[in-house]
Point group: C2
Chain length 191, copies 2
DNA sequence: CCACTTTTTGAATGACTGTTCAAGATTTGC
DNA sequence: GCAAATCTTGAACAGTCATTCAAAAAGTGG
């Protein structure tokens, strides 16, 4: 129910998704949706929230199951890169929402931005266990910056059609973007 | 005329901008707009095209007026970073368009992607004057990746309100993201 | 089996969408 | 200074939008 809404909103964005499409995607009737979520924005908020919650949980799982924090963060980045090279890559729901709804202090924009802040804070928290506060903060910011880059760059490549795919491998996304923030904690991916 | 359309579409995106808003922003009548551009998509295409053209011209100017190609690219990146820390930063029209209109092989998405490819090709062309083809290609890809990251990360910060601003400086966007692709060509910004 | 509450239904609503085009204004050619 | 051609105007159009709500269905307690 919220799951299908996530899929639709993630793919098409807020404005381009009509409630009729939501009705079709979820199989629910308009009345039920409005009873449960108030309005389109309420449903979108719920979808965004769920998406962010699951994303944060996945990051935590990845990092905590790794032998070290640096290695865990590396694994997460590698996962994001692998995801970004797949066909029909949808980029990040939070990033897309933020960019779409940035005009006039939109409430949903603020929510997306807050969730992205949570992600950054999560990285910062882990990094503070190994580095000083300031270095942890800078590394977390760097990770976010790289994640955004991967998600947009990978997105472009993924949607450009199969003819373009080989160049992704040729460019070597992994070897180009990973070395930076992890020259120390994760030498494995350093070229 | 197209200028005002750029402003509106850049800020609000394609779906969230109504033709009535376009009419108000440009001061033209619906009929004139439809005579000149066919439809909303035609006007958007024109706006996107003009924006990309001017962006490419600015990059060329920056690089060619610099003492070296590496230094020129650095200056461009620094300019983008500075821009991204300003209030009411609008991110990149091409990136926003690409992320908004990615679903179902949209024509405007393809245009935005093609224009971003042109930007990457421009960097590649310059870099090939100093490096081998493969290295130039990888460096150009890296630059694009960093540019996307800066534009999204900076965007988030810029819109989060004045209370958040100091942390941008504290994180040190410049020193975190710049060192990567330019450790050789532009040692100035390497920390 | 009934009376009562809760949930579900989906056609209807008014506002707004992108787009059109006949009528009016302006320019052009002579 | 007129007639033809071109451009401009903006009210009107059909369609879609998010949203509502009376009526039907399902659930509940005794």
């Amino acid at each position: 129910m919220v799951r299908q809404a996530i899929g639709l909103f993630w793919r098409q964005g807020f404005s381009a998704s009509s409630m009729q499409q939501v009705v079709q995607a979820t199989g629910l009737n308009p009345g039920s949706i409005y009873l449960a979520f108030g309005n389109k924005e309420g449903l979108f908020r719920e979808a965004l929230d769920r998406y962010a919650q699951e994303g944060l949980a996945m990051i935590r799982r990845t990092i905590e199951s790794a032998p070290s924090i640096g290695e865990g963060i590396c694994r997460h980045l590698e996962g994001v890169i692998e995801e970004a090279t797949k066909r029909n890559y949808k980029s990040c729901f939070l990033v897309k929402t933020q960019l779409e709804l940035s005009a006039q202090g939109n409430e949903l924009y603020k929510l997306a931005a807050a969730k992205l802040d949570e992600v950054e804070a999560l990285f910062r928290g882990y990094l503070e266990k190994e580095y000083g506060r300031e270095l942890a903060q800078r590394r977390a910011a760097s990770i976010m910056l790289h994640l955004f880059g991967i998600r947009v760059y990978g997105y472009r490549r993924a949607c450009a059609g199969p003819a373009r795919r080989p160049s992704v491998a040729a460019v070597g996304l992994g070897s180009v973007c990973l070395p930076v923030p992890f020259s120390t904690p994760c030498s494995r991916v350093h070229n």
